[in-house]
């Protein structure tokens, strides 16, 4: 929680959104006043500036909730290094797909159960879905111990 909202990256995001959103509000108000004075173009701009402000808020929220420690190019390299360092599966520090995937086919190799094959295919599909985002936060609970 503290890491998410008070890291240096998060604070720079807070500062950016605190500058941009009031700026957009002021610009929107300015354009609304100009539109009321009879400037036709300002009607369009008085819609555009609030849209920019809402975009800034949206990206602020999404960037705050994006877990940069475990995903992306650097995260993938770090995970690969951690996996190489500690090869024991079931470790709480790494996400589940790399750990689950090698476990399943050990039993699948002995008997060709179609249900098990479907399960393995589902696991592979989950592993191929890639990094987790703020949309699927149930999978992002994996965080490294502070």
């Amino acid at each position: 929680m503290r890491e998410r909202w008070l890291s240096g990256r998060a604070i720079s995001l807070h500062v950016a959104v605190l500058v941009v959103v009031p700026g957009c509000a002021v610009a929107a108000w300015w354009q609304i006043n100009r539109a009321q004075d009879g400037n036709q173009l300002s009607y369009l701009y008085s819609v555009m500036w609030p849209a920019f402000g809402i975009l800034a808020l949206t990206f602020w929220w999404m960037l705050i909730h994006t877990d940069y420690e475990t995903v992306g190019l650097r995260g993938m390299r770090r995970q690969a290094m951690e996996l190489a360092a500690t090869p024991t599966p079931g470790e709480a520090t790494s996400p589940s797909p790399p750990n689950i995937a090698p476990e399943a086919p050990a039993s699948a190799a002995t008997e060709e159960d179609p249900e098990l094959a479907a399960y393995n295919a589902r696991l592979a599909e989950l592993a191929a879905q890639g990094p987790k985002t703020w949309r699927r936060r149930e999978s992002v609970v994996v965080r490294r111990a502070p």
Binding site: R9, F59, V71, G72, M76, A104, P105, A128, G130
Partner: protein
Amino acid sequence: MSRLTGRGLAGALFRYQLMANIVGVLIIPLFFFFFLHLGGVGSFKAELEVLGVGHGYLYIVYLITAGYLALKARLHIPWILLMFVAGLVPGLTFVVEWFTVTRKIQPLIAAQAMEAGTQVSPAAQ
């Protein structure tokens, strides 16, 4: 068509590239007419209105696509800001799009392909 609606990195990249090129092309005549207007060659009111409003709204779409790509590829905040600003400077859009693809996205795609090759295949066998 699937690249326009795809939710993965490839879709995000395609939409970003599409909008970067549209916005980058639109902003060149906008600045051209703007400098003609400043230079006193003519008023160019209609051109400036059409191009200005068109660029303004397409720039919002560009921001959305760039931000979505940044979330997918986990770009850093200075790079995100560079992508955002590039939509406002003539010519810079193409340069930033090129460097985004070659420096940021292609290494990521290569790394993801390696990850998928080593980790997904045992379960898929």
